[in-house]
Amino acid sequence: MTETKPLSLQVPEPSSRPGDKPDFSYIDLSAAGTTRRPEVDCAANSMRDLAFELVKVLDKNGDAVGPWAMDLDDAMLLKGLRAMEKTRAFDERMQMAQRQGKTSIYVQCRGEEAIACGQRLALKKGDMCFPTYRQQGLLIAQDFPIVDMICQIYSNAKDKLGGRSLPFFYSEREHGFFSISGNLGTQFMQAVGWAMASAIKGDTRIASGWIGDGASAEGDFHAALVFASVYKPPVVLNVVNNQWAISSFQGIAGGQAANFACRGHGFNIPSLRVDGNDFMAVYAASSWAIERARRNLGPTLIEWVTYRAAAHSTSDDPTKYRPKDELEAWPMGDPIERLKNHMIHKGIWDEERHTALKQELKDEVRAAAKEAESYGTLGKGPVPGIGEMFEHVYKEMPPHLLKQRKQAGV
């Protein structure tokens, strides 16, 4: 008879904690250019290896190599570089503005700029993104007026959302940016629904859903994969694996047991694992998935491997749960540096021009922030009036809200 020992619960632990030497040996890294590029209409079950490889185009020398290296023209590369640097400059300014009391909270996307910027540049006008709060690059990459974004962040008199929403919870329908929710994961299922609607109507527009590694544990993620596999709507399903959900490492969302890309296999959804810090890889993998969607070939799941280089938000202090020097040990580098090096290597860019670009963007963001500030800030006002609180609950204000609005003194 076998002796039965007491059971014990397994709780995953990250590879390193504060004070430890950072250790990213758990991340499978393919060399640039080594991962094959299947045809977009290939059978999902013929490309299962792609969920375990890493689509990576830019190598250590700054060369774009392998089958995923698209021939992007210089203008597109500069667009990408500019969008990423502008996003970072924007984040830095807003981080500071929060510390100065101009808003209540801010969330940076530092280190992840390539993913949103790269995919947005591969999408077409009319396509609809269902982002999380860390995809500000989707707006900035299409030259959305940043002063409007800052007015929303400051909840000032020109905040289009009337002060009703948290900072950075933008809603920009005309720019293919769905209203952000703070309930994590909900938008992932909605993206599938939007794409189903597009297919029902015989449209040509596609949807792009976004979720983080942490929120992929939500039922919405799994429901989205079920619906996506059943109805095969035109949707790109993006999982941004930045290793951390506030203080929970990706293993708490199940990432240690199996990576996020291979979640698609149970649904026979073509799934890619991609270097999210490689603008060229982001653009190429997004284009591949977008083409599949556009040609009615159905959904694609993409895990973007990246690293959340900043705190979760201005309310978070990551030194409490991860090594201070983890970022320096991150093996996939900085997305901006990598594209910049590629462009320099290609002979279309240099440090001098880059320094000038950074200064130009910093000035542009500063000017926009100053302009937004002239319309007010959350800290000093003016903020939208009490009356705004009662607007847009329903299309037409019902009697009980009219009464309550009066009671509130409006």
């Binding site: 329908r173 939007w194 109507k201 429901a223 847009h392």
Partner: protein, 337 residues
Amino acid sequence: MARMNMIQAIRDALDIKLADDDNVVVFGEDVGYFGGVFRATQGLQEKYGKSRVFDAPISELGIIGAAVGMGAYGLRPVPEIQFADYILPAYDQIASEAARLRYRSSGEFSSPITVRAPCGGGIYGGQTHSQSPEALFTHVAGLKTVIPSNPYDAKGLLIASIEDDDPVIFLEPKRLYNGPFDGRHDGPATPWSEHDSGEVPEGHYTVPLGKATITRQGEAVTVLTYGTMVHVVAAAVQETGIDAEVIDLRTLVPLDEEAIETSVKKTGRCVIVHEATKTSGFGGELIAVVQELCFHYLEAPIERITGWDTPYPHAQEWDYFPHPDRVVKALQKVMEP
């Protein structure tokens, strides 16, 4: 005019909206080929095609999440939740998403969705096929909650709900699908084909949301009720001979406070009847509204008859279900001088 039961009236409303608006889509568990477990969508897939009327995976979260996405696109989805008891996995998508999308986007996106769900007991459905969860939705800003009590209203309210630009929770008292009854499960029930409210006009018409209806005019006491209980109350009133005014609220949010105020000020007495559990039930809200609007007109404490604060039992169904005798007692008590 045609004679219809409530299921036929609901199907007719869906048929009319599918025909006159290409943006209307109907989906849910078993609603496609089969036509729904209660047959509310029977024949609609054949008539309108699989991209307009289709089966959905058993994922209420997914069904409503898809509907919210479709609504954001510009469709007018009418998802079915097979039983209201199953709606809770979709609660986040309803309460945090559908209800707030307009608010958080300043109207740039909205959720013009109508969530149909059979509710209430009386069919031996036990804990998981009998509940009345309306208060879970009336408590959420941004939602409208509708509960019809007869075929005429069901059709008109459903068309109005589908045409409404805000999310509507449309709860269908399943005990009334085939015919009204007086709450006495062991007695004969009149089928809708022999009932006045089974007369349903053909074609398009609406019953406006937010408007109650008086099902019996009276002077002595106001009874506020909705859904299946409208018929239970009618039986009780008849038995007592008390000249009660019975108000079928039809829409809980927005609530027709004007109708309530007018009636209670006239009668000075009020009884509230619903099937859902008592504590934090919608009856509590009604009591608050009545005392806010009519306190100085009240001549007796308000009486409230509801389901007990237990899960919905199986074998004891008819002891749980508010019996006409309980309503009779409440009416007599509120009439005591």
